[in-house]
Amino acid sequence: MLHRTWRRAAIAAASLLTLTLVACSEEASDAKDLSGNRAGAMADYDVGTQFTATEPLSFSILYNNHPNYPLKNEWLFWSELTKGTNVKLEPVAVPLSDYEQKRSLLVGAGDAPLIIPKTYHPAENQFVSSGAILPVSDYLDLMPNFKEKIDKWGLKPEIDTLRQSDGKFYLLPGLHEKPWQEYTVAVRTDILDELKQPVPKTWDELYTVLKAMKAKYPDSYPYSDRWSKPTPGGALLRIAGSSFGTQAGWSFQHSTWDPAAGKFVYTGATEQYRQMIQYLNKLVTEGLLDPESFTQSDEAARQKLANGKSFVISSNAQTLVNDYRPDLAKTIPGAKLVNIPLPVGPAGEINPASRLENGVMISKKARDSKNFVAMMQFIDWLYYSDAGQEFAKWGIEGTTFVKDAAGKRMPAPDVDMIGLNPKGTKHLQKDFGFANGVFAYGGKLDLMQSFFSPEELEFQKVMNTRKPVDVPPPAPLTDAEREQVSLWETPLKDYVTQNTLKFILGQRPLTEWDAYVGELKAKNADQYIEVVNKAYERFKKDNG
């Protein structure tokens, strides 16, 4: 009896499986037929058109809830959005602290909202094989603004880096007209004046300056850095790495494109990587860079700076204004701290920032909705049209912002935003829901820079004269390959991180570099690169 039951169960399971497979293969064939999905869509939607759904629609959206401006249902953003587009968004609020985890859970459980913003490439890779995410590249014809910006700003090479092994991409990234380099080094200029030193332009000049500081203040470590958790030296290695022509710290990637050789090489074994390590090692051995820079908490680094125990620290526009200056103002009156343009290294005058931003994924199930076309048009308008981007960032002209004669946007008299109008009693983010990280990013240069202080504008002006870094060609892995390399990635990355620190801190002499490269090979660095190069060749052959 039992035996028979089991057999029946097995047959049932098998037939169920077959059914699912059949269902899956059927689905793929009608990818292009959108005739049943046009309810609510505009027939003449194009660049410059205000999107308004022809009937009231609502879409669910995963909402990254920021503790600085917690979600409010009465925000002007929601009501004005519905008024303008006839679309009501239904947010699923997820705390920012654990956004990625909830996103994986919801996608994995098949319960994800239709629109999934705030996804940083390559986080979408993990969802591609499950089939839960829409290959948006198939539907770009529905998104005129997105296409126009890619053409106008020459973003095709960047977009190609998002492609998967099937040649499609699954993430609609935020687009920048110009790269926006946020991170750099902040230097106490009052100390520079005192030492009669110029503002350093290159990493070598920075070395000279640090040396002079050390000579004057032997008890200090002139450079003590933050942003070391969870990635040791995350920010410092990232900015130094980019200037030396490699990728380290936060931006570490296992493979680096070598244009001369026409193939990928293993990042942690390159000459550029060695040079960066050598430079930082020199700083540490001469007592110019605090060895704790790679392990201490942000707060410890801030305290050292605030107490005059260090004079140089990694920085960005916000931390300079929000952290360092207020800290210093309370402890060392007269201290002047300035973000210097990113020091230039052997890689030349480059702007290492990417022109792509985090972006939007779309649930596959949206494709079956009768409002699918309208939804794509809506996303195109809100995230990629000039009008939509201005609306998301600044709100309504006359209510939340005003323009002067030159067309420069300013917050309305009673509205404040990051100190642009300290007299304003209401806050653009907290009280109105605009300039919200979920909706507002990227865009044209003047929009991008509209929140910048004059100081930051100056900094970006210098950075914009530098040439953007070349984008590596796409080398998308198949699922099987990805599974294989992910087994190698963790031990390799740990080993590179560990030894990078050992070399920099002098615990391992740089003469052992060749031995280290050999050890990387023993940990499958060569096989890893082989897989990537194979993927590169394959993609080139299949996609021209």
């Binding site: 503790p67 459980a109 940083y120 936060w250 605030a306 985090n358 990013y441």
Partner: protein, 311 residues
């Protein structure tokens, strides 16, 4: 109660009289001294972080940044307390925590008591299997996504039940309680049966009144764990108005420390909750549950030990 007090006073009298009669040995005194030193050390180590947080919450930001706040607040002020307390969401979440904790604890106590009582009876058929089912869950679980799908299909998502039901029985607590019930003399229940009580009557009128110590302990265990829990709420709730205060706190702190939490790229809008803000929120969230301890603590030791030693 009267007898207990009498016994206690008797005890103290004997202790105070002891120096006249038997002098504690040298070894014993050394042991006591070492003990006292070690325990004082432990007290300092455990107390310091808490006192430090309280001091920070009352200090001026500048002193915290300068690293000069240790045990005593500097630049005493209450502005941050006023700020946090004026956030409506904080109080909404706070209320949720209280409601979830109370409801969840009640459910847990009822279910755990019933289950443990049943399991403590040797005559129960399939007792081994029932214990096995419970213990199995200590080592294996279905995993995140299956659990999520289960809760969703039961229609509990975005309701209080998603928070208070799934973790209602803690197996460890169940086993402690089972051991406690097993230690009760069987004759007592036999006598109750002879006097005409059925199973429920025995449990409610005889066993439970004798189990105050263990129940108080379980209330403490459960209440603390529900008060501190955030993960189930985070998983199954989609609206911030329904979150417990722990999720609020976590978002505040994690958001403030992780400039590059989101996939290696920094948030363009700075996430900086001030140091005092964190401290204030931590103090406000932990205080109530700390206040529960002293009231339950006297049951605590006897409660856990009873089951353990006599079982």
């Amino acid at each position: 109660m009267v007898t207990v007090e009498a016994a206690e006073t008797g005890e103290t009298r004997r202790v105070t009289r002891r120096p006249k009669g038997i002098r504690p040995t040298r070894g014993y005194r050394v042991f006591q001294a070492v003990n006292a030193v070690i325990l004082t050390g432990v007290v300092i180590v455990t107390l310091y972080p808490f006192v430090n947080i309280v001091a920070r919450s009352l200090s001026d930001e500048a002193y915290i940044i300068a690293g000069r706040v240790n045990l005593v607040p500097r630049g005493f002020n209450l502005t941050t307390y006023k700020l946090v307390m004026s956030d409506a969401l904080f109080w909404t979440n706070y209320r949720n925590t209280v409601v979830y904790t109370v409801v969840a604890t009640v459910i847990s106590i009822v279910l755990t008591t019933c289950y443990a009582y049943v399991l403590s009876k040797p005559r129960l058929k399939g007792r081994g299997a029932l214990v096995g089912i419970a213990v199995f869950t200590m080592f294996f679980s279905g995993g995140l996504i299956p659990n999520y799908v289960l809760i969703t299909s039961l229609g509990m998502k975005n309701t209080i039940w998603a928070v208070v039901v799934p973790n209602a029985i803690n197996v460890f607590n169940l086993l402690v309680m089972k051991a406690f019930f097993e230690s009760l003399p069987e004759e007592l229940e036999e006598a109750a049966a002879v006097d005409g009580l059925n199973t429920y009557g025995t449990l409610l009128r005889i066993v439970l009144p004798l189990s105050k110590a263990i129940i108080a302990t379980m209330v403490l265990f459960y209440a603390v764990s529900f008060w501190n829990s955030w993960f189930t709420a985070f998983l199954y709730l989609d609206q911030q108005e329904m979150f417990p205060v722990t999720v609020y706190l976590r978002n505040l702190i994690a958001g403030a420390t992780g400039a590059q939490s989101a996939g290696g790229v920094a948030e363009s809008d700075a996430v900086q909750a001030a140091a005092t803000l964190q401290a204030v929120t931590i103090v406000l969230t932990t205080l109530p549950i700390l206040a529960v301890y002293p009231f339950i603590q006297r049951y605590f030791v006897s409660g856990v030990m009873l089951g353990a030693v006599k079982g």
